[in-house]
Amino acid sequence: MSEEAFDAIIVGAGLAGCTAALVLAQAGADVLVIERGNYAGSKNMTGGRLYAHSLEKLIPGFAKNAPIERLVTKEKISFMTDDTGVTMDYHTVRPDAPVKESYTVLRGKFDQWLAEQAENAGAQFITGIRVDNLLMRDGKVVGVEADGDELEAKVVILADGVTSILGEKLGMVKPRVSAHATAVCVKELIELPKGQLQDRFNITDEEGVAWLFAGNPSNGLMGGGFLYTNESSISLGLVCGLGHIEDSDKTVPQMMEDFKNHPVIKPLIAGGKMTEYSAHVVPEAGINMLPELIRDGVMLTGDAAGLCMNLGFNVRGMDLAIAAGEAAAKAVLKAKESNDFSATGLASYQTLLDESFVMQDMKLYKNAPAFMENPRIFNTYPKMVANIMADMFTVDGTPSEPLRKKIMKRCKEVGYMNLIKDGIKGVQAI
């Protein structure tokens, strides 16, 4: 049977899985991707933004052919209370190199395109089939069982997402990913005519907006809102930490509804047509929740490996998934040279990740998740900023105070010690 075995079977046709398939197929390896959805991307969702660099390295100039939505040239961050918003707005032009670019994307389309690239390179895809179990022999993973069929491979790459049931079955992922380590993301896709969308957001034909919101959207819990402009739709959603969800006096769907009705958001989506409602869990704990990545005959990659970073001002997962998928594929190719697919033979996966931005960035921001657990960031500070603005801009005929006093008053409400403490921690964490 071993003559018929694939070099690699990849479970899951997301970005990590498709990238691994592409790299393996390009090197002439015999690779099969198994996806439970009806097409690559059919089970996947994103907030909306792909940092180009890692895919740009593999497919230079990919954005010219891939179904990207818009090039992000406008960054906004807002601090929100129930009825106010204070916004920072940074508008730039196309960067001088594609590796610095980022695009808004929709996964239903984008993942299909990437799968097609892998298929053209020679990878095989089976869709609509769920992998139920891993085949084991002498403690090694030697293939998969799907729909009653057994398929053998020298290596199985688990790219099956944040709820990696197969990773759990092996004991590589802890059975219950801690609630503190994860958040839930909900998103609505809202269609608007292209011209109207560009007018509302003050952008030209291909330009796009990436907008993050702290405070009110996640009801004061860890998380925040997001808005990304697509070609002719808006991805509007929020992320909410699951660690203290039982303390919330609002349900997650209600948070989303209230966010849509916030005075900052409402006019932007007015008249738009909601065409999809999606949700997914996001791994948020960074390097502290990494599972075992390698065992005999098996590797974990992408969200299944917990590769995701949330720094408040940028949120990354897809660029990490692509780089990790590439690293996993290279490790298989290396193992093939010595025909050793044990954990030792696959060890270069870890080395490649450690040497790349993936683990270096994950390590650099190792304290960010703990910093983000601080409720003041999502509750007290957005209110403080909004109050300072209200004090500055309100004229009602009562005798004025110097600006300095107005600001100090609001800082005092939060507590100087808290401000200093959080300021230092924040600087250290990010």
């Binding site: 439970r36 129930d82 239903g108 609630a179 609505e188 039982e246 349900t251 065409t275 949700a279 869990v281």
Partner: protein, 95 residues
């Protein structure tokens, strides 16, 4: 503030292939209500419901397969949590 959300209307625009034969999530009989309450708050699809007569209802048909209930209550009040069989479940046209 806005009106109470109607999640069913939102789910109505999605494309689902419901597996009528095999539910992919099953909750235990008489679940701990404190745990159940977490899911009432967190489930993006609002599938965990407490009815006026105090009984509970769960319907897997509108599941977005996000994994939230598995993470919060997978080892407490869920009897079973798996992905729907191949081809079944939510199909994101945009994602």
């Amino acid at each position: 503030m806005s009106d109470a959300v109607n999640v069913d209307v939102k789910l109505g625009v999605n494309k689902f292939y419901v597996d009528e034969e095999q539910p992919h999530i099953v909750i235990k009989d008489h679940p701990d209500m404190q745990e159940f309450r977490k899911l009432m708050i967190a489930c993006p699809a609002g599938l965990y419901k407490l009815l006026d007569d105090g009984s509970i209802r769960f319907d897997y048909a509108g599941c977005l397969e996000c994994g939230t209930c598995k993470i919060l209550c997978g080892d407490t009040i869920l009897e079973k949590w798996e992905f729907p069989r191949g081809t079944f479940g939510i199909e994101y046209r945009y994602g």
